[in-house]
């Protein structure tokens, strides 16, 4: 059964799904636009915004009843990246808290080794991060695109890209509208499960090894309680990465994001690991909530919402071919996620796609050659450079499946014995700790794992 997961289909070139002489639904297209963007998420709305600002006639399609309806996960917006695209966005966006405290908690069943940094300097412009509720963020961004002149159509589910030969020329909309639109440029921003890209043979079917499944709960608590428990000033917030215990022996992460009056708690790991282990995603979350050191933080909280979403975590090596005749792939659909960086990569990829699209429109050339400006811009920016630098991360996690769990335990063990005061002399204690640690993992293996990690984390 495992072998199956290692085979995934790849196709080299797009095959035409619909030849335009046989019109979808046997009717005329509703309208022809300069560009169609599929998906009003961070990537799609950014692309639509920047194209509309240049005066292009843009159609922004969203299958949900409102932007953000279809995705979940406690999230934080990185200020500088967003500010460069949308100056002073914090004056417009209904964010939750200004993040002044970033921490990592390495957890075992009964202990937490935490490393964190907090500073009030992060609470002043240009800030560092804000926690946001996704629907608020998505709605703000889509609204900006609409204000800039894009046509935002909600509850429109695009099921297929339409081709004339190899050139992308439009998209087909499913029920209830059952219609189709044409455009010179199609920008796919339809998320981690990009059915359009896969269906058209533009991207291989995503592999369960490259995707992680995360579940989250939003647990409401009064603002003062949150500030008290996490020791924060009013309006300030924390983002905390949780490693070790949350993923029950597998590599993966959890996170806490603090909202104004709620805690967003999530946990996830690779889809392949879920299948291998038979663990239920919600059970992981439940288990995390019951951790003796988590319970006091969540006490009295009321669960407002639960949800699950996949995140592409294959990194650089999982990025498909992004530039096709008349079609660009952005955001999660392009596997542009690097660790905690999702929003910013998505928004910048949307921005670059918009620039390439505008250049193509001006030159009336929608070929791969002209649209390759998109890939060039990505390559020259932090987007691809950082992804490339961390390219080995996904493989490393597969190579050392016990990495997060074992080393968290070892760190906690060392910390425990360091914190505890023994009657033995200090020197003897150091030897004792060293022996304890190396009894959990042979020295050579530790060295090998550290070496492997250093090679990957540049």
């Amino acid at each position: 059964m495992l072998k199956y997961w290692y085979e995934h289909k790849t196709t080299d070139s797009p095959h035409p799904t619909v030849c335009l002489s046989a019109r979808p639904y046997d009717q005329a297209p509703v309208k022809k636009y300069d560009a169609i963007v599929v998906g009003a998420g961070p990537a799609g709305s950014s692309a639509a915004y920047f194209m509309a600002k240049e005066g292009m006639d843009v159609l922004l399609l969203e299958r949900g009843a409102y932007p953000g309806a279809k995705t979940c996960g406690g999230s934080a917006v990185i200020a500088e990246h967003t500010h460069k695209l949308f100056p002073n966005f914090w004056d417009e966006l209904d964010y939750e808290r200004i993040v002044t405290d970033q921490a990592y908690w390495f957890m075992t069943e009964d202990s937490i080794l935490s490393t964190g940094f907090r500073s009030n300097k992060l609470a002043a412009a240009p800030f560092n991060r804000f926690t946001v509720r996704r629907p608020n963020f998505y709605k703000w961004l889509a609204h900006k695109a609409a204000e800039a002149g894009a046509t935002l159509l909600l509850s429109h589910n695009a099921t297929e890209a339409l081709f004339d030969g190899k050139q992308a020329v439009g998209v087909k909309i499913s029920a209830p509208q059952n219609c189709y639109y044409l455009a010179d440029i199609i920008i796919l921003a339809d998320g981690v499960n990009s059915m359009l890209a896969e269906r058209a043979g533009l991207a291989p079917r995503v592999s369960p090894l490259n995707l992680s499944l995360y579940v989250k709960e939003t647990i409401s608590l009064p603002a003062e309680t949150i500030e008290e428990r996490f020791n924060l000033l009013p309006g300030h917030g924390s983002t905390i990465g949780l490693i070790g215990y949350p993923t029950a022996g597998f590599n993966g992460t959890g996170a806490i994001h603090l909202y104004k009056d709620a805690i967003s708690l999530n946990v996830g790991m690779s889809v392949g690991d879920f299948a291998k282990s038979g663990l239920r995603p919600h059970d992981l979350l439940d288990r995390l909530k019951k951790h003796p050191l988590m319970q006091p933080l969540l006490k009295g909280g009321v669960v407002e919402e639960y949800g699950g979403s996949m995140i592409p975590e294959g990194g650089y090596n999982a990025v498909p071919k992004l530039v096709h005749p008349g079609l660009l792939i952005t955001g999660d659909a392009a596997s542009l996620v690097n660790g905690v960086h999702g929003y910013n990569l998505a928004m910048w990829s949307g921005y670059f796609a918009a620039q390439a699209a505008y250049a193509a429109k001006k030159a009336r050339d929608f070929s791969v050659k002209k649209l390759s400006l998109y890939r060039t811009l990505l390559n020259e920016s932090f987007v691809m450079q950082d992804l490339k630098a961390n390219a080995g991360a996904a493989a490393l996690q597969r190579d050392i499946p016990y990495m997060f769990d074992l080393y968290t335990r070892m760190a906690n063990e060392a910390a425990f014995h360091s914190a505890k005061v023994y009657t033995m002399p200090k020197r003897a204690r150091r030897v004792f700790i060293f022996k304890k640690i190396t009894s959990m993992q042979p020295v050579l293996k530790i060295i090998r794992d550290v070496w492997k990690t250093l090679k990957v984390v540049r």
Partner: protein, 95 residues
Amino acid sequence: MSDLENAVQLIHFQPDEGWQHVIIAEQDLCKNCQGKPCLTICPSGVFAWNNCDSDPVLVFYKQCVECGACRLICPYENIAFAFPHGGYGVAYRQG
């Protein structure tokens, strides 16, 4: 399991009574499936089975959060997953 049911109750859906967006293509293939990972991996418990070989695997599509994990995890590629029609399906309020 009831913890999961309680959690799923909190999610807002616009169910499509007229069209099922996620189906098991061939129930017969499920009979050969030992692990049935769909039963455990779905975050909202869409797939259910009563451990009786003669009974089919049920698909409670109206509580699907459209994550797409099932489609990828089925060893027989037997789950036909599509997104619901425009405006239907999960509608996260908190996100």
